[in-house]
Symmetry: C2
Subunit: 200 residues, 2 copies
DNA sequence: CATATAGCGATGCGATCACATCGCATTACT
DNA sequence: AGTAATGCGATGTGATCGCATCGCTATATG
C-alpha cells in the first residue's frame, strides 16, 4: 500500500472521471482533452495527469465510472435485489430505465452511446462492454426464466435470446430518443408493448 | 456554372469521401484528418482541401456518401421498387440488410454507428439523420399498412410505431453484432421472430 | 526528527492538426 | 490567341494536443 495521504485518492479520481463524463455528455468524446477535463473538474492539468498518466487510462476510468453510475441508477429504481421482486415489474422497470426521461438520464445515455461507438475502434473498451452485457443479459434472462417456470411466459421461448432482443429494442429506441428521431413517450410505449407480448 | 474542367468534380469528391468512410470503418471518426484522408485516397492534402475547404464539410460529405451507399445496397437487395413486392418479403429483406453479414456490410454499419454518435454532438448531422429516418420509417410503415389492408397483419397495430420498433430492434441488434455482444446469426433470427410476430 | 513517498502545480517539447497562402498548370469560353 | 476560372501541389502558421520533466509541499512511517 502507498504511504502518504492516499485517503482521498479514489474520490479525486472520481471527480475527474465525472468531469470527463460531463464533457462527453454535452460535447462528445472528441471534446475530451487533459486540459478540458481539468478545467471542467476545476483542478490543474497536473493533477489530472497525476491520477491518469495516459489519456487512455482517463477514458477507461470514465467509462468504468459511467457504468457504475448507470447500474447504481438502475439498482436504485429497481430496488435492492433483482431476485426479490415480481419479474414482470422488474423487467419493465429496468427496460424503462434505458429510455431517457430527464436531463440526467439523457446525459447518461449519451455517454453510453459515445463509448459504445468508441468500442468500435478500441478493443479494450469492446472487451469490457462484452463482459458487462453478458452479465446484464443474463440477469434479464433469469427474470424471464422465472416467469416461465411460473407459467406466465410461454416455455417455448428462449429466455436468453428473448432478453437479448428486449434490451436491444430498448437501446435502439433510446438511440432514437437521443437524436430526436422518436419521443421518449413513444419509446417507452413500445417497450411496454414488447414486454406485454411476452405475457400474452 | 463554373468554367474550367468541372467534369470530374463529383467523382473526385466521392473518391475522397470514400477514403474517409474507409478510415471511419476501421479506425473510427477520431482517426479522420485531412492528411489521413488524402493519404488513404492516394491524393495530395491540397486536393482534399480544394474540394472540402473545412473539415466539417468533409465529414458531412462522407456522411451523405455513406447514406447513399447504404440505401443503394438496400435497394439492390430489395429490388427496384419497394412498392412492387410482397410486403412481408420486403420487410424481412430490408431489416435483414441492417444486420452485418460480411466485411463490407460490417464496414457500412460501423460507419453508420459512428455518425450516429457524432450526431449527439453535431446538430447538423442530427437534423439530417432525423430526415433520413423519417423517410425510412415511413416506407416500412407503408409496407405494414399494406398487409394490414390485406388482413395479414392485425389492423389494431399502429403501423408507424410498429415499424419504428422493428427498425430500432434491428439496429440495436446490429450494434451488438458490431461489438461482438451477439452473433449475426442470433441477431438475424431475432429479427425474423419479430417479423413473424406481426403475422401471427 | 528524519526520511521516503504521494500529491500536484508549472513549464517545456515534439507532433499533429486545421487552415491559409502562394503559385503554376490546365482547360473552356470568348 | 487571350482570358478567366478551376484544379491542386507545396509550404507556412498558429493552436492544441498528449506527455515528460522538474520542483515544491504535505503527510505518514521509522
Amino acid at each position: 500500500m502507498g504511504r502518504g495521504p492516499g485517503a482521498q485518492h479514489v474520490q479525486r479520481r472520481n471527480e475527474i472521471a465525472d468531469a470527463v463524463l460531463a464533457i462527453v455528455a454535452d460535447r462528445g468524446l472528441a471534446a475530451v482533452s487533459l486540459t478540458e477535463a481539468a478545467a471542467r473538474a476545476g483542478v490543474s492539468p497536473g493533477r489530472v495527469q497525476h491520477y491518469f498518466p495516459a489519456k487512455q487510462q482517463l477514458l477507461e476510468a470514465a467509462f468504468e465510472r459511467g457504468n457504475e453510475l448507470s447500474s447504481a441508477r438502475i439498482r436504485a429504481k429497481a430496488g435492492a435485489d433483482l431476485q426479490d421482486a415480481e419479474p414482470r415489474l422488474m423487467l419493465t422497470t429496468v427496460l424503462n430505465e434505458l429510455i431517457p426521461y430527464d436531463a440526467a438520464s439523457q446525459a447518461h445515455m449519451r455517454v453510453r452511446q459515445s463509448f459504445h461507438a468508441l468500442a468500435l475502434a478500441d478493443e479494450q473498451i469492446a472487451a469490457r462492454l462484452r463482459q458487462l452485457y453478458a452479465d446484464f443479459h443474463r440477469q434479464m434472462a433469469d427474470l424471464i426464466a422465472r416467469d416461465q417456470r411460473a407459467k406466465r411466459i410461454p416455455a417455448a421461448l428462449d429466455a436468453h435470446n428473448t432478453a437479448l432482443a428486449l434490451v436491444a429494442l430498448a437501446e435502439g429506441l433510446a438511440a432514437y430518443v437521443l437524436t430526436g428521431v422518436a419521443s421518449a413517450t413513444t419509446a417507452r410505449e413500445r417497450v411496454l408493448v414488447a414486454v406485454a407480448d411476452l405475457y400474452r
